[in-house]
């Protein structure tokens, strides 16, 4: 496997407290790598540490370049897009302004927004804060997908969404992953099964398992590391 992102001994701290401890893993240059673990094990913190949003140490190499000492905006400018947990759209700005703010480089692909989420075009003048959770997630994904990225960091994109919207979001992520590699944090194992080819499992801030997604999801490791059975996943 060729890696687009290599992480070695990543530590992250929030207010002095260690939330990620010596994490080492790789993200493949194609497809979706899922970052899994129970609640509170440091999945979102790992992503934020990669982006420099949390105080961190360790080696992070992206496309052959060390990025662990760069400021967040410099990391993103190198082609790493972030879709945060809880969407974090700018509620006081319109949908159009949210998208305009996210445009990087010369030729953002607005066409992809119309293609994946046509209702956002109709709601361009609407304040993002008045959108439903699903629509806000569409804005959040659009902000990332319309730029020419080399890696997507996507944090719990289906959290709190209605099943119908989960389907829409999963399809959008699938389409995005055909073009751009993705590190995906996701609790919904059906979504993981549909998208991921590799899983990295965290426990207590450390990586405890790495391997093919299908093998992991079909084994009792799911129960051991995530606290759910394969039957529960299917349900």
């Amino acid at each position: 496997m060729t890696a687009i992102l290599t992480v070695r001994g990543l530590d992250a701290r929030i207010a002095g407290q260690q939330v990620v401890e010596g994490a080492s893993f790789e993200v493949a240059e194609h497809g979706v790598t899922a970052l899994l673990g129970r609640n509170g094990v440091g999945k979102s913190s790992t992503i934020k540490a990669l982006l420099g949003l949390y105080e961190r140490s360790g080696e992070v190499t992206f496309a052959g370049e060390r990025i662990d000492r760069l400021m967040t905006h410099r990391i993103v400018q190198r082609g790493i897009a972030y879709v945060p947990e809880d969407r974090e759209v700018f509620g006081g700005l319109t949908v159009e302004e949210n998208l305009r703010l996210a445009e990087r480089g010369g030729a953002p692909n607005r066409g992809i927004v119309a293609e994946l989420f046509p209702e956002l075009i109709e709601r361009a003048k609407q304040q993002a804060g008045t959108l439903s959770g699903g629509q806000q997630q569409m804005v959040s994904l659009s902000r990332a997908l319309m730029n020419d990225n080399r890696l997507l960091l996507v944090d719990e994109p289906t959290k709190g969404l209605a099943p119908l919207i989960v389907g829409t979001v999963t399809k959008a992520l699938e389409a995005a992953a055909e073009r751009t590699p993705m590190l995906l944090v996701e609790q919904n194992l059906q979504v993981v099964r549909a998208l991921a080819h590799t899983v990295i499992v965290l426990s207590g801030g450390r990586v405890v398992h790495t391997g093919p997604a299908a093998d992991f999801l079909d084994s009792d490791l799911v129960h051991r590391h995530l606290g759910v059975s394969t039957d529960e996943e299917a349900a």
């Binding site: 949003l53 967040t72 905006h73 993103v76 700018f90 006081g92 302004e97 703010l101 990087r104």
Partner: protein, 292 residues
């Protein structure tokens, strides 16, 4: 009736002055999380330099005053931008240290101004019309209030236009909501910090010259005393909200005027009570929002 009208319009005039100081404070805090205690220094320095240049152009003339206002605006913007670049930027994301630096600058600059211009306020000459009054329904409104109100309205309009129509305005509006997410979109938010400091400094600089018009004098402590009211306005309006700052400026000044007249000079007490009431009922201020 004429007394009420007089108090109301003079209150709005004083509110205009508060707004010029508070608008920058509110934007700076909203975007950067920094309570800028050096803001009063921008105002004082601009007031002194505006007066120095203005009197050389024409002491007591409109040309002198308008030039002084222009100088105040430029001095406020430049000094504020330099303050951000030299003192605030190296302390990026270290909010306590940033606030302490602004406290130090505020204290040191007053001492510097006293060293240069003396400890006593200097009486200034103004165009004759500003010393007169205009009859509005029987109330004799001091003319300088019209200048204050007109300037504040223009400044408010220009800031709103900047925020709504420019790309940096968009970054600032987004940053006031969620600065972290702005950086996570690949935007160097530090540029917006400098711009917000410059805009706030320009408004405060203009306020510095107009404060000398309002009080008829310019002094080393002018900025410090106005800053206290501006902080109250900023908190009542909601930290980070320009609209809140505009509404609270007028509200605070009008309450102050009425309490001073009808309640035996208790204007300052009245606005502190108003501050406490707003904080109890609506801790984020009138227009403030909970930040991410």
């Amino acid at each position: 009736m004429s007394t009420v009208l007089l108090l109301l319009i003079t209150g709005i005039g004083l509110g205009a002055l508060y707004f010029l100081v508070a608008s920058g404070l509110s934007l700076i805090y909203g975007l950067m999380g920094v309570l800028n205690f050096a803001h009063g220094s921008f105002l004082t320095l601009a007031g002194f330099l505006g007066w120095e240049v203005g009197r050389r152009i024409g002491d007591g003339s409109w040309a002198g005053l308008l030039t002084g206002m222009l100088v105040g605006l430029v001095v406020g913007a430049v000094v504020a931008a330099l303050t951000e670049l030299i003192f605030i930027r190296p302390l990026y994301n270290r909010h306590i240290e940033q606030v302490l630096v602004t406290v130090g600058l505020g204290l040191a600059s007053v001492a510097l101004f006293e060293g240069i211009w003396g400890t006593d306020p200097i009486q200034i000459r103004l165009p004759e019309w500003l010393g007169g009054t205009t009859d509005v329904l029987g109330a004799n409104i001091p003319n300088d209030r019209w200048l204050l109100i007109a300037t504040a309205v223009v400044v408010l309009g220009l800031i709103v236009l900047f925020l709504q129509r420019t790309s940096y305005g968009l970054v600032i509006r987004a940053g006031v909501e969620n600065r972290t997410m702005v950086t996570a979109l690949g935007i160097d938010v530090r540029r917006a910090f400098t711009i917000v400091f410059a805009i706030g400094g320009a408004a405060a600089g203009l306020g510095g010259v107009l404060a000398s018009v309002y009080y008829g004098q310019v002094g080393a402590h002018q900025g410090t005393s106005l800053l206290i009211y501006a902080f109250i306005v900023t908190v009542i309006g909601g930290l980070g909200s320009l609209t809140g700052a505009a509404i609270a400026s007028v509200l605070v000044a009008v309450i102050q005027q009425f309490a001073n007249f009808y309640l035996g000079g208790t204007g300052d007490l009245a606005i502190v009570l108003a501050l406490a009431a707003v904080l109890l009922v609506r801790p984020t201020g009138l227009m403030g929002k909970v930040k991410h």
